[in-house]
Symmetry: C2
Subunit: 177 residues, 2 copies
């Protein structure tokens, strides 16, 4: 039997723009106590926009926490009261300009359940219609269209470093083979 951890105290540490931090004190079996550091996140979506010739529309941006430019699938934070599907449609349009006639929910996942509740909803976007991108004011994004087989090699070569992107590419390959 795996015991649940009952919260006996919860300290709010930081209320930020994107994340909040709290530290919970929990009760473990045998009256033992432990603390859990928890980063609260509003959740996000990620989209695999796939063209008819098996290319994926990717985006590149500078990611401050890792001090590098990462190649990723389009993604973004869910706004307050926004449905994940609406968010996926909005983010795809904002970051790439594309709209999808066919937007299919695949599954959702927690990015770092050891210290955060961030949950990402993953979508496969097909039957794409090209338009004009309109990224947020402080987002600097470049778009790149890359063959799926090439992306899979880039995963194993260590050239793609973002976990949702690796997961999305491997799922797309597995589903569309």
């Amino acid at each position: 039997m795996i015991p649940n951890e009952i919260t006996i105290k919860s300290d709010r540490i930081y209320e930020g723009k994107m994340i909040q931090l709290r530290v919970d004190t929990v009760l473990l079996p045998g009256e033992k106590q432990a603390t859990r550091e928890i980063v609260e996140h509003p959740g996000a979506v990620a989209i695999v926009p796939i063209t008819e010739d098996n290319k994926i529309i990717m985006v590149k941006q500078f990611r401050k926490p890792v001090e590098s430019i990462l190649l990723e699938v389009p993604a973004g934070k869910i706004d307050k009261d926004e449905e994940p599907l609406s968010c996926a449609i909005r983010e795809l349009k904002e970051e790439t300009g594309y709209e999808a006639k066919n937007m299919q929910f695949l599954f959702s996942f927690y990015t770092s359940p050891g210290f955060s509740n961030e949950r990402i909803y993953l979508y496969l976007a097909k039957d794409l219609i090209k338009g004009k991108a309109s990224p947020d004011e402080d987002e600097h994004i470049e778009m790149e269209c890359i063959d799926m087989d090439k992306l899979v090699s880039m995963v194993y070569d260590g050239k793609i470093k973002d976990s949702k992107t690796i997961l999305a590419i491997l799922a797309a390959k597995d589903l569309l083979k």
Copy 2:
């Protein structure tokens, strides 16, 4: 050209047991400023221990940030000055009791590069030798050995919710097919 974000101010908010939080003020093109909330993490390893009959040794544990029991591949935080490979050998032994005669590094990835620098090094563990698990005092872990094809269906059925685990299962399926 994607601009780097130059730090002009960095505020330390919280120094925890597992994570630290800081808020950087960065300079964007056009003299614009923005803040970036960054969770510092020591890094971790994840291991796909695969048996000769194509089963993966999985672990189940309660994850406080998401208030649920998750099925995951064995994993753990890298200790100070520890090499990822040593950490992978140690965590596999602690969480499952198994040792691997063949431990192969696959690639590494960032779990949430939008707000954290957490990096996970992924290993494939083969030629397993059974032993006795010895989890940390406040870890309550159950082990389960599950067929790889079953795990892949569980991913698409939404029954596996941890991103490193989904990524690891899809990579193992792709590499070992």
